[in-house]
């Protein structure tokens, strides 16, 4: 008798289509080992449903609004609102400033695989802990992240995020 072990998780998740579902149902009628397996599979499936995170009721809207429609994001709108060329130039300037100061900023890929689009994931700027701890910066004498960002004219990226 060929067991249906591999299909049981999908079976209890209700994801098997007609023919495969039929095969499993028929098999379970005559195989107690697979019935036990199915029992375990169902338990896992139910347990998974109970481990969702506890979410706060706070909406992200005010922050998102500030970065899209908000009047409080003047500098960012200027940044995002400028054309691709100007944005690229600004990014290049910022990168150059960073490199001059001896920092290696990791290349960040955006959702479309864009290379270094500061707008796509500005949060890389927030990783101040690893930056300031990093030995790349040469230890205690290294400038703080705030100074560096101010130097690169991107301080609002941090404050606004």
């Amino acid at each position: 008798m060929k067991h249906v072990t591999e299909l049981l998780q999908l079976f209890v998740a209700g994801e098997l289509d007609g023919p495969r579902k039929h095969v499993v149902e028929e098999h379970l009628k005559k195989c107690s080992a697979c019935r036990d397996e199915a029992d375990q599979a169902l338990r896992l499936w139910e347990d998974l449903g109970s481990v969702g995170p506890v979410l706060s009721n706070e909406s992200v809207w005010p922050s998102v609004r500030a970065r899209t429609f908000g009047a409080g994001s003047r500098q960012q709108q200027w940044f995002f609102g400028s054309g691709g060329l100007a944005r690229g130039a600004l990014a290049a300037t910022a990168l150059a400033a960073g490199l001059t100061l001896g920092i290696l900023v990791p290349v960040n890929e955006g959702p479309d695989g864009d290379v270094y689009d500061p707008g796509s994931d500005s949060s890389w700027l927030l990783e101040s802990s690893w930056l300031s701890e990093s030995s790349w910066l040469g230890g205690d004498g290294a400038p703080g992240i705030d100074e560096l960002l101010l130097g690169a004219g991107l301080q609002d990226e941090v404050d606004g995020s």
Binding site: Q9, L10, L48, P53, V60, L126
Partner: protein
Amino acid sequence: MSQAMDDDALMTRTAAGDEEAFRLLVQRWERDVLSFLIHMLGSVEEAEDLLQETFVQVFRKADAYRATGKFKSWLFRIAGNLARSRLRRRKILRWVPFNPVDHDIGSSQPGPDADLESSQRKDAVRASMDRLPQRQKEALVLNRFQGMSYQEAAEAMGTTVPGVESLIQRALAALRADLAGKGDLL
């Protein structure tokens, strides 16, 4: 504006600069996206950060969105890409060990009346999920927690339905094997 207005209509309005439409979209989907990101990243703080980023991306890409009734897959594709990007960078920079103190989802403290065994089991399941390979976890979370069909999950992940099925199958098998080593917790 009608609460029942569908996502495509809201996206069309958002692309035209309608703030109210965008607000409705954000508030309709933020909890689902946050839950997904927490599962992916294991950190509430990072998830909240990327949640904001996800919707900023939605806004900025609204022009490019095609109204074909697949907003949910499109939205989770953006969130998934951001999460993967973050995980990749985390891996490059340094290994960030799982720390239950920082992770609301991994630190359920049993209350006075809590069923300790059940709480332990949940923690074990969470910890096992955390150990899953990224793609397997993503497929499982989209399907089990976001209620996506395999088709929707495949679109969100840029793969095929059999691909998603295989990922979920392997994820569940790995969870079973992992949890089997934890005695009678499961």
